[in-house]
């Protein structure tokens, strides 16, 4: 009860208030007080609460939402930073190592192999060497994007082979052959070194082809000499002069840029045949296939041919077949020619008939 007089009260109202306060003295009984207080404590004890948790309870949901948002944004940021490394292809652009500043140089005239150089840069894959045959084209004008020699007018076969090698090696679409974008220096240097090796190998091959051709000629000359010495129908001088002179006068010509012994021997064949036409029965033909391997010497061969002549015709033919199988074509032909001279009407087996027909 308030004893403060209110503005809207009259004096009599104040007296009423005073009288009321004097009269209204009723209070609840103590037992009721005890019961009510106990019930209030039981209500609180059933769910104990700490008074200081009001802040956490009211801010629990907003803080949870904020934490989730922060975590999500952090994950998105991290994924974006890592995504470029994952999304980039294996042959990502990387700074080249120290080089000598070499630029794209034209490949030598010997042509290049389509195999990719062995030099590899970090982050790039080693393309597989498909063992493709060398192109038969004019020299290239530089190194392409993938280290392949770039030819201004590549043949279709080389183009297909390059595309196939590119796809298999790098997994991406083949780069245009005329792409002249600069390569990393190390890659270019490796390509140049590989080209040098290929050129050197081609040179060696040419040299060996020359040697083989020369060796074949020597063998032919020696064989003719041997045959001319034992030939009863022809004059030795004529045979020797006809074989030695023209052949000697026509040494093995310079091989072509391809460096194959086959082409060199093909060039010599017409001259050799014309010379031999004038000879007696020494009709030794140049082998159509180049034999870079070492050939047996002429002296042992002559002796063996004479030895077969003592055999029976069937045995002689068998020996000739063995010579063919062993790859001793010259000996086999010489022996076969001798056999036909001695036994012109003897039927030849089918395997030998092939060799008799050029």
């Amino acid at each position: 009860m308030s004893e403060t007089p209110r503005p809207d009260w009259t004096e009599h109202d104040a007296k009423l208030a005073a009288l009321y306060r004097a009269a209204a003295l009723d209070e609840p009984p103590p037992t009721l007080d005890h019961a009510i207080r106990a019930a209030a404590r039981r209500a609180v004890a059933s769910k104990p609460r700490i008074a200081g948790l009001r802040f956490s309870r009211s801010w629990r949901v907003p803080l949870s939402i904020a934490a989730v948002v922060v975590l999500s944004m952090s994950l998105v940021t991290i994924m974006r930073e890592e995504a470029p490394d994952v999304a980039l292809p294996p042959r990502a652009e990387t700074p080249p190592p120290n080089t000598n500043g070499r630029v794209a140089e034209p490949a030598p005239a010997g042509g290049t192999n389509m195999a990719v150089p062995q030099t590899s840069l970090p982050g790039t894959q080693k393309p597989r060497n498909l063992g493709l045959k060398p192109p038969q084209q004019a020299p290239s004008t530089g190194i392409g994007l993938h280290g392949y020699p770039v030819s201004p007018e590549p043949i279709m076969e080389s183009k297909k082979e390059l595309a196939a090698a590119d796809r298999l090696g790098t997994g991406g679409p083949s780069a245009p052959l005329t792409d002249k974008r600069a390569l990393p220096e190390a890659f270019r240097a490796g390509a140049n070194r590989y080209e040098d090796k290929v050129t050197a190998a081609a040179g060696k091959l040419r040299q060996s082809a020359k040697k083989d051709v020369g060796r074949d000629i020597e063998v032919s000359v020696e064989a003719r000499r041997q045959l001319g010495a034992v030939n009863p129908t022809g004059s030795p001088a004529e045979a020797g002069a006809s074989t030695a002179g023209p052949v000697a006068a026509r040494p093995a010509g310079p091989a072509r840029a391809t460096g194959t012994a086959t082409e060199a021997k093909d060039q010599l064949r017409p001259e050799a045949d014309s010379d031999m036409r004038g000879s007696s029965r020494a009709n030794i033909q140049a082998s159509p296939v180049a034999k870079p391997l070492a050939l047996p010497s002429a002296a042992p061969m002559a002796g063996k041919v004479q030895a077969y002549g003592d055999l029976a015709p069937a045995k002689w033919l068998e020996r000739i077949e063995e010579l063919y199988k062993e790859g001793r074509f010259e000996d086999a032909k010489a022996s076969l020619a001798e056999f036909k001279e001695r036994y012109p009407d003897y039927p030849l087996p089918a395997s030998l008939k092939v060799w008799t027909n050029p």
Partner: protein, 190 residues
């Protein structure tokens, strides 16, 4: 405990909501007398008043979880008490007294006439107090409620209106009429 004594009624109720049973003890001690007398004046029976008084406090403890400070604590407490009284009236044969539903108050002229017809007049102060209580009990329930709320809790007209669930003008009319009637009944002691 000393700190809780200095807290307002609203602060104590919030602490009790958060689990502090001591805050309830302080709160109960402050308002148990006034609330009991209010209920006693409205129902007219001590037994009924004790029962209703206990119910009101139990309702308060059960509703503590959802308590938020939107008005004075006394307004909230007497609102609970008013609603419990209405439920009590409805359970009675007569139902809710008409005075609670009647917003219009009779003319003050009718009050003076009734005072003259009251034969129980006593010049003693104690007798005056008793006479006042009798006059208060003779008031209509709504007017009595307004007068008791004002006298017991020092509530303003707006707070009386909120506790009673009526408009401010209705609460003002009821209070004015109650005072006028009491004033007229105490004219014998002037």
């Amino acid at each position: 405990m000393a700190a809780e004594q200095n807290l307002t009624d609203e602060g104590l109720m919030e602490r009790y909501r958060d689990g502090d049973a001591g805050a309830f003890d302080v709160l109960y001690g402050r308002h148990k007398g006034t609330l009991f007398r209010y209920i006693l004046r409205q129902c007219g029976s001590r037994g009924v008043a004790e029962e209703l008084f206990q119910d009101v406090w139990m309702n308060l403890t059960r509703a503590r979880q959802s308590y938020t400070v939107q008005a004075r604590f006394t307004t909230y407490l007497y609102r609970l008490a008013h609603n419990r009284l209405i439920d009590h009236y409805r359970s009675q044969v007569g139902g809710v007294p008409v005075s609670f539903e009647d917003d219009d108050c009779p003319a003050l002229e009718g009050i003076a006439g009734s005072r003259r017809d009251d034969p129980a007049l006593n010049a003693d102060h104690r007798q005056q107090a008793q006479r006042l209580l009798q006059l208060i009990d003779a008031l209509p329930e709504a007017q009595r409620e307004a007068f008791v709320l004002q006298q017991e809790s020092d509530m303003s007209i707006e707070e009386i209106a909120q506790a009673a669930g009526v408009s401010r003008e209705t609460a003002k009319s009821r209070l004015r009429y109650a005072i006028a009637k009491l004033r007229a009944g105490m004219q014998e002691f002037k």
